[in-house]
Symmetry: C2
Subunit: 119 residues, 2 copies
DNA sequence: CTGTATCCACAAAGATACTG
DNA sequence: CAGTATCTTTGTGGATACAG
């Protein structure tokens, strides 16, 4: 999402939030990381329809916005772990509410499409 | 945003929410309408960088998702008013929190870019 | 294992002109 | 005034191959 601002300061911060988390994959990534640190490969496996390139991009943007922390271990084979920052943790309750809102207002969503997997 | 679901029911509803409001213009439109009904031209004027075509699309999608109500008056010249549905009103507090979160965590945003206008 | 590098497809956004 | 129609541009996501 390109970053543009408009005519109202309240809406402005909202646009900023959406710029940061309002896309296809980021809420998912944040949600998955809310259970604790996770490796690149695991994230890639849990979001089966995302490509490595896109996942990399999303993680990098989230890191730039300081929502996630990337920790790289100097091992062979390489190991990289991603975890949530404090900023991101402050966002979790709000995301929960958004989720709740959708559940209350769109009961017709076909949740069968969401397969439950072990984290 | 295309509508896809992934491996977790909680994240799933979140994705749904983002599908509905997580794009460039919709939060703004919702925010502007939170002050009461507004006409097409007014919305277009308050979001100066949006084209009429895009605004039309966004309004139509919001209407399909039952977040806004479109009321057309049989007058010449035509008058169309958009207002928030109850569903959307339930979302307002959460949007407020999102806004608040951004304000707390990203004080570096240049709010000068947001010109304040009268609604 | 954790990425990059390329190239491609498609959808969304923007510009402009036109209409009932 | 409130849109449509059309065309162009941009951006995001996806497939695949390759690298450290």
């Amino acid at each position: 999402m390109s970053r543009k601002y408009i005519d109202n300061p309240n809406a402005c911060t909202l646009v900023h939030t959406m710029n940061i988390i309002g896309n296809k994959w980021k809420p998912i990534i944040i949600y998955l990381l809310s259970n604790g640190p996770m490796r690149f490969g695991k994230l890639n496996a849990l979001v089966p329809t995302i490509s490595k390139k896109v996942l990399t991009t999303q993680l990098k943007e989230l890191e730039n916005d300081e929502l996630i922390i990337r920790k790289s271990y100097a091992e062979i084979p390489p190991r990289v772990e991603y975890s949530l920052s404090e900023k991101a943790k402050g966002l979790l309750p709000v995301l929960k509410e958004l989720s709740q809102w959708a559940e209350n207002n769109f009961p017709e969503i076909e949740f069968e499409e969401c397969r439950i997997v072990d984290l």
